[in-house]
């Protein structure tokens, strides 16, 4: 059974279509990257899955059940978002104590070690924490909850590079000991490129990419070389981007590149190299823009 199964999922707010006919599944024990520009529909999608809002049309299953107001399914989920509001009366220790009672798989030793790692002051009012410390508190809850489905929606606003690395390290270490399904929604794609095994890319409410990270790496390539050779090599492939300087051109191509193809590129004096995940995502998103 899939952890999440969405089919034709659509969410409209008056005249805005936040999600447009989105279909995908999330499987057990994998780390997903939910990518896309601001306003692409990432947060709406996560709100739908976590039962915080309801879909206009389409079907959605969370652990095989409808998520809205479904206690049994929702208890298996933790959703850490940058915009999480905390009541003014709460101190850090209150939030931790509540989380301990609300999440069935909560590991308090792990939580306390994260609090120490992030130097979180337990007795401080949550509303008086800095931006980065608020994010660290969210990250702590999200990791220590050990929920079978864990969402991080831009969890590290204000976190410095060291704290972010700490988050990635702790996530990976804990994930290997306690496998679960993790969805990371972020703009810092290069930072998480090694973490995520599968990419879901949203653009203006549409799911434009649903692929394994490794597959995608082999699928999107930069080809640099003489104009005629490159144009010849490009036929039959999707050209995502093209920039020309004199007689030399560089194109970003999407397609399959097997060994024979690589040899052919070499013969044509074309330099073929894989692009980073971030570049691939940028190209795939920009290409759609020029389509219209």
């Amino acid at each position: 059974m899939s952890v999440v199964a969405a089919n034709g999922l659509t969410k409209r707010y008056r005249d805005v279509t936040a999600l447009d006919n989105v279909s995908f599944t999330l499987e057990e024990n994998a780390i997903y990257g939910l990518l896309g520009r601001n306003g692409a529909g990432k947060t709406t999608l996560m709100q739908l899955i976590t039962g915080q809002t309801s879909a206009t049309s389409g079907s959605l299953e969370l652990f095989g059940e409808h998520p809205y107001e479904n206690e049994r399914a929702l208890m298996k989920v933790v959703f850490i978002k940058e915009s999480q509001k905390y009541p003014t009366a709460y101190k850090v220790k209150h939030v931790l104590s509540l989380a301990r009672h609300l999440f069935p798989n909560w590991d308090d030793d792990f939580a306390q070690s994260l609090v120490d790692d992030f130097n979180l002051p337990r007795g401080r009012d949550v509303r008086k924490l800095s931006r980065g410390m608020t994010s660290a508190l969210g990250v702590t809850i999200g990791l220590a909850a050990r929920a079978p489905l864990t969402f991080f929606d831009e969890p590290y606003l204000g976190l410095d590079a060291v704290a972010r690395q700490l988050f990635y390290d702790r996530l990976l270490a804990d994930y290997s000991e306690h496998p679960r399904t993790v969805v990371l929604s972020t703009h810092l794609i290069d930072e998480v490129a090694d973490l995520i095994e599968h990419v879901l890319l949203l653009d203006r409410g549409k799911l434009v990419l649903d692929a394994d990270t490794d597959e995608l790496r082999g699928e999107v390539m930069d080809a640099t070389g003489p104009v005629e050779a490159v144009d010849d090599f490009s036929t039959g492939r999707e050209v995502l981007h093209r920039e020309q300087l004199g007689g030399v051109v560089r194109v970003t191509l999407r397609g399959s590149f097997d060994n024979a193809e690589r040899m052919r590129a070499k013969k044509l004096a074309i330099d073929l190299e894989p692009v980073s995940l971030q570049q691939a995502v940028v190209r795939l998103t920009m290409e759609r823009k020029t389509d219209r």
């Binding site: 107001e69 206690e71 929702l74 509001k85 905390y86 009541p87 009366a89 509540l98 609300l102």
Partner: protein, 231 residues
């Protein structure tokens, strides 16, 4: 039920604020009243009743309303369903009203035993609200908490669901409806009948029965409204 108790902790975890503010403000009001009435008891014989107790009810109602507007979005973020959150809220408010009712009854007994804190002050034993039956006295203190808190909770749920405009629009409609009702009663000359009906009501109905009914309706309305609310 366990889940409801766990979720109820959302309201009670910061219990210092929850308890300290209402009772602290009431205590301050009591001290001020004792000081004032001790200094003027010669000047105003027989007028030793005060409405200082109302501060406790007002602050409690505000705390209840804020608990919705602030705790509900947090609860949703923690994977709590609207239904469980609301049931936990109702539970907390019921228990709180009962505990506060008992505490106020004890203070009522202290006031009686000390002859109004030595100066004949009526802070807890307010005329009409002071009844002879102990159990009824506890209910008389407890039910106004439910009445005010659930009306406040209902308004807060309305605000969470429909925003500022929704809340004020509803308030405006309510004012118009009750205004028209008042005008209708005046026009038809029904005020005499209204007063007659009120004065023939049993003390227990007026202090406990009817407010409890309104509180229950507000609580049910809040439940219906929150099921479709998004933080």
């Amino acid at each position: 039920m366990n889940r409801i108790l766990d979720v109820a902790r959302l309201h009670t975890v910061a219990w210092v604020n929850q308890l300290l503010w209402p009772w602290g403000i009431m205590a301050a009001s009591l001290v001020v009243n004792i000081l004032i009435f001790a200094s003027i008891d010669e000047a105003a014989p027989g007028k030793t009743s005060t409405g200082g107790l109302s501060s406790l009810y007002i602050v409690s109602a505000i705390v209840a309303g804020v608990s919705i507007s602030q705790v509900f979005p947090f609860a949703l973020g923690m994977g709590v369903t609207r239904r469980t959150f609301y049931l936990a809220t109702v539970l907390v408010n019921l228990v709180q009203a009962l505990v506060y009712g008992v505490l106020l009854y004890l203070l009522n007994l202290i006031e009686g035993g000390t002859n109004g804190f030595g100066i004949g002050l009526h802070f807890f034993r307010i005329p009409y609200i002071d009844v002879s039956n102990g159990l009824l006295q506890i209910l008389v203190y407890a039910v106004p908490f439910l009445f005010l808190n659930f009306l406040c909770i209902f308004a807060a749920v309305w605000y969470v669901r429909f925003g500022t405009n929704g809340l004020f629009a509803t308030a405006a409609v309510t004012i118009v409806v009750f205004g028209l009702l008042g005008a209708l009663i005046t026009w038809q000359g029904w005020w005499g009948d209204v007063w007659h009906w009120l004065s023939t009501q049993h003390q227990a109905s007026l202090l406990v029965g009817w407010p409890a009914l309104v509180a229950a309706l507000a609580a049910l309305g809040g439940m219906a409204a929150i099921r479709r609310a998004n933080a």
